[in-house]
Symmetry: C2
C-alpha cells in the first residue's frame, strides 16, 4: 500500500518555483467560487507518520489559500463538555458549513490507531471504529461534503533521516516531541495498524491519498493539486442528484396487518386509577431524577405521532415530575439557515446535552423518514439512508450513557377527527387547527406506511420504539411515564 510512497519522490526547486504561482492562483479562485456558490463544504483529513511534514504542508495550504475561509483543527484531550458526549460530538461541532473548508489533523482516525498501536485496544475495537468511521464519512459524502483524506508516509529510513535533520537544527528542534521519538520506535506496529486502517476506510467516495512526505516540494504540490482538482471537479459538475436509487419501493404490508393496526386502541384507564398511577409514576420519576447516578447519564426522550395524538400533554406530564433545572424540551421546527448549511443530523447533534439531564424532543430526527419522505422534501435516497444514519446516531448515544426513549403515540383516524372538531370548537387559542393539520390528515395512509417502515428499521436493541395506544389520554400518559421510569431504572 505504501510502496509508491517510498520511491523517493521529489520535485526540484526550479520546477516548484514555476508551478506554485499558477497553482496558488487557481486554488484561490476555486476557493472563492466555492465560497460564493455555497454548494458544499470541504473536509480535509491529514494523517500519517510523524516527521512527514503534515503541519508544514497544512501551513502552506493556508498560506496559498485564503485563511479566512479555512479552519484547521487539531484535537487534544477531550474537554469535560466533550467527554460527556459521544466521541464524534467534537467533530460534529466543528464541521464546516457549505462554502467553507475544514482541515482536521489526525481527526477521527487518531484515537483508534493510537490505542491499537500502544496496545490499549484489541483488534475488534479497531474494526468497530473503522466501521463507525466508514459510516460517518459515507453520511458526510451523501450530504454533499467533499471529503479529502491525505496520508503522509515516510519509509523507516527516511523517517529517521528526517527526524535527525529536524533535531540537528535549532530552528526546527522544537518540532520533535517526545511523542514523536516514541512513535519512531513503534514504526512497524504503526505502519501495520495504519495499513489496515487505510485499506478498510478507503472508499469510493473518500479514498485515501498517500503522499510521500520526505520532499517538501513534492508534498506541497501533490496536496495542493489534489485539493484544486477535487474542488474544481465538484464545482463544475452538473447539479443533478448523484444518486439513482434502484431499490424496490417500500410498500404497505400485503395483508393490511402491521404494527400499528395491531395495536389495541381501546385501552382505557378510568380517572380514579389514573390519578393513583399518575402520582405513583411521577413520584417514581422524580425520585429517579434525584438519584446521584442520574448525574452520570443523560436521558433523551423522543415524542412522535400524528397531529392531536397528545404529544404535548404527555410531555407536560413528564416535565411536571422533574425539577425544571433538569429538563429541556426541544420543539423541532424548520431548520435555521445555519442548520441548512450542515448535514441533516447536525441540528440534533448540537442539542445533545451534558450528563445529568432529561432532554425531550417534541418531534425529532425522524422527521426525515416521516414528513420529509411523504412531502418529498428530500430524495428517496436521502430518506432511505437516514434509517442507518439514525441507528448509528442513537447507538453512539446509547453507548455513551445516554438513555434514548422513543415514543410513537398512535390514535385512530376517527379519534383524530373528534379531537380536531373539539379543538375547532374551543375558543382557546392554544388548540387551533391549521390547514396543514387537515392536509396531513389526508395523507393518513401514507404516514401509516412510513411509520411502519420507520419502526421496522429503527427499533433496535439499544434503542427500541415504544408504541403508545393513545386514544385514551389517561392510558397513554401512564404508559409513557411507566416506560420512561423502567428505562431509567434499568440504566441506573
Amino acid at each position: 500500500m505504501f510502496e509508491s510512497a517510498e520511491l523517493g519522490h521529489q520535485i526540484d526547486k526550479e520546477t516548484y518555483r514555476q508551478e506554485v504561482p499558477t497553482l496558488r492562483e487557481a486554488l484561490l479562485e476555486a476557493q472563492l467560487d466555492l465560497l460564493e456558490s455555497r454548494k458544499f463544504p470541504v473536509v480535509i483529513l491529514i494523517g500519517g507518520v510523524d516527521g512527514a511534514g503534515k503541519g508544514e504542508t497544512v501551513n502552506k495550504i493556508n498560506e496559498w489559500m485564503d485563511p479566512r475561509h479555512i479552519d484547521t483543527y487539531a484535537f487534544g484531550p477531550a474537554s469535560d463538555e466533550e467527554a460527556e458526549r459521544p466521541r464524534m460530538w467534537r467533530y460534529w461541532r466543528t464541521l464546516p458549513p457549505k462554502g467553507k473548508i475544514g482541515i482536521y489533523f489526525g481527526s477521527w482516525y487518531s484515537d483508534p490507531i493510537a490505542r491499537r498501536v500502544y496496545g490499549e485496544s484489541k483488534n475488534e475495537a479497531l474494526v468497530e471504529a473503522m466501521d463507525e468511521i466508514v459510516r460517518f464519512e459515507k453520511m458526510l459524502i451523501d450530504e454533499g461534503t467533499l471529503v479529502l483524506k491525505f496520508w503522509f508516509h515516510l519509509s523507516r529510513d527516511k523517517q529517521k533521516a528526517r527526524i535527525d535533520k529536524l533535531k540537528s537544527d535549532s530552528m526546527t528542534r522544537w518540532r520533535i516531541s517526545d511523542r514523536d521519538k516514541k512513535h519512531y520506535k513503534l514504526y512497524d506496529k504503526f505502519k501495520s495498524v495504519s495499513e489496515q486502517m487505510l485499506r478498510e476506510t478507503s472508499t469510493a467516495g473518500a479514498p485515501w491519498i498517500i503522499v510521500e512526505g520526505f520532499d517538501a516540494n513534492y508534498r506541497n504540490l501533490t496536496v495542493g493539486k489534489h485539493i484544486l482538482q477535487a474542488i474544481r471537479d465538484r464545482l463544475d459538475s452538473a447539479q443533478a442528484s448523484p444518486h439513482e436509487l434502484n431499490t424496490p419501493p417500500l410498500m404497505a404490508s400485503a395483508d393490511n396487518t402491521n404494527v400499528l393496526s395491531n395495536l389495541d386502541l381501546s385501552h382505557k384507564l378510568e380517572d380514579k386509577k389514573y390519578g393513583e398511577k399518575l402520582e405513583r409514576y411521577q413520584g417514581k420519576l422524580n425520585e429517579l431524577s434525584r438519584d446521584p447516578k442520574f448525574g452520570k447519564l443523560s436521558v433523551i426522550c423522543v415524542f412522535e405521532g400524528p397531529d392531536a395524538a397528545g404529544k404535548g400533554g404527555c410531555i407536560r406530564h413528564v416535565t411536571q415530575a422533574v425539577d425544571a433545572r433538569l429538563f429541556h424540551v426541544i420543539p423541532i421546527a424548520a431548520p435555521t439557515e445555519e442548520e441548512r448549511a450542515q448535514p441533516y443530523l447536525w441540528r440534533f447533534w448540537r442539542r445533545i446535552p451534558r450528563h445529568g439531564s432529561l432532554t425531550i424532543f417534541d418531534r425529532s430526527w425522524y422527521g426525515r423518514v416521516l414528513v420529509e419522505r411523504i412531502e418529498g422534501f428530500c430524495s428517496e435516497y436521502d430518506w432511505m439512508r437516514a434509517y442507518g444514519e439514525i441507528n448509528d446516531f442513537e447507538e453512539q448515544l446509547s453507548l455513551h450513557n445516554f438513555v434514548v426513549v422513543k415514543f410513537w403515540l398512535q390514535i385512530s383516524k376517527d379519534e383524530q377527527l373528534r379531537r380536531f372538531d373539539e379543538r375547532q370548537n374551543t375558543p382557546y387559542k392554544r388548540f387551533k387547527i391549521t390547514e396543514e393539520d387537515w392536509r396531513n390528515r389526508d395523507k393518513w395512509e401514507a404516514y401509516e406506511t412510513a411509520v411502519c417502515d420507520m419502526i421496522d428499521r429503527t427499533s433496535t436493541d439499544h434503542v427500541p420504539w415504544t408504541l403508545v395506544e393513545a386514544n385514551d389520554k389517561n392510558y397513554a400518559r401512564i404508559k409513557v411515564l411507566k416506560t420512561l421510569c423502567a428505562r431509567i431504572e434499568k440504566a441506573i
Copy 2:
C-alpha cells in the same frame, strides 16, 4: 427593603383554586403570542434565601406555561470550556432568542453574593460585580430583552420554620442540603449582602420584585401575575423606539485635525529592509506562539480599515507565522438568522476561543459604530450605547487572560483610488471591486468622523487601538507584526 416581604402574606386555598385557571390560560396565551411575534426574549432571574420555594415556583411556572418554549438553567461549577472564557460567557451562551423564555436560578448574582457572604471577597469586588451586572442588564434591556428579577425572601423565623417543616417530611427532606443548613447559619450576613446587591442593581429597566416565600399560593400567584403582566404590556405596547436621544450630535473636529489626519502616511519601508524585518518578526511571533505560556492565554486580533486598506494582506502575513492549528480567522459578514434573534454582541461572544489560540477578526463588533452608524442600520441610541458595551466586552476579555489587539489600517483617499483602479484592471478575480466599494468611498468623510469617534471612545488602557499608516504595505505589515509581538510578549 424586605419589610413588606415579612408581613406573612398568604392566599387561601379557595381563592387560589379560583384564580389559577384564568391566570394559567392567560399566561399560555401570552406565551404563544410572544412566540409568534418573536418581538423580544424574556429573561427571568430567580434569587433569594434558601427554603423560600424558588424551585417549586419555577416548576409551577413551567407547569402553567408551555415548557417547550422555556429553558430553565442553574449553574454549577464552570466546565473547563467555561473557565477559559470570561465569567459572563456561560450566560451569553444560554440567552434565549426572541420569542422564548429563559429562567435563571441564581444567575450572575450567585457568585458575587456567595463569595462576599463566605468572606472570600472584599466589598470592592462586590461593588465591581454589581457595576458589571448593571451594565450587562442595561445592555439586555436596550436590546429589547424583557428582564424580570424575582427575589424570594423569608424572615429568619420563617426560614427556620420552613426548613424544619421540609426536614420533618420524608418526601421533602432531600430538598434540604448541607449548603442550605450552612446558609441558614449565615442568615444575617446573607441578608445584608443581598440587601446591598438588590439596592444597587434595582434599576428602572430591571427592578427587583421581592416575593415573600413562605406561602406557596401567594408566591406562585405573585410570580405568575407579574410575568403575565410584563409580557402582556410589552406585547401590547406600540412598536415605537423607546429611546429618544437628546445628546448633541457627534461632529468632526473643528480644526480638521484628528487622529487620522495626524498620521504620517508617507512612512515607507524599502523591500530589502522589509524582507529582513518580516523574517525577524514572523520568527518572533512563531516563537511566542510556541511558548508554553501562550497556552494560558488567548490572543484576539481585530482588523478594521477602509476597503483596500490591506487588511487581508496583513492577516495573511500574521497567519503565515503561526501554525494553522493555533489560529482561526473569522470574517464578519451579515448576521445569520440565529444571530439576529440575539443581542448585537452575541455573535462575537459565541466565537470567543478557548485559551492557547490566536483568533483574528476580519472586521468586528466595531461594525456597529462604523457601517451601521453611517448606513443607519441601527438607531443613534444603539450605536451610542455600543461604545460602552464594547468597552465592557473587551475589558472582560482582557481581565480573563485575553490579549486584544486592535488595528486600524489607514490609507489616503488617493491611495484608495489608486488601488481600486489597479484592482479593476486585474483580471484576477480575487480582487474585484463592487459597487458597494465605490458607494463606501463616497462616504469617506462620514467614515472619518465615525472612526475618530470610535478611537476616542474605545481606545482604552486595557485595549488600545493601534493606528497603522498603511499607504505603504511593507510598512503596515511590519507595524502590525511588531505591535502584535510586543503585546503578546508583554502578556507572557
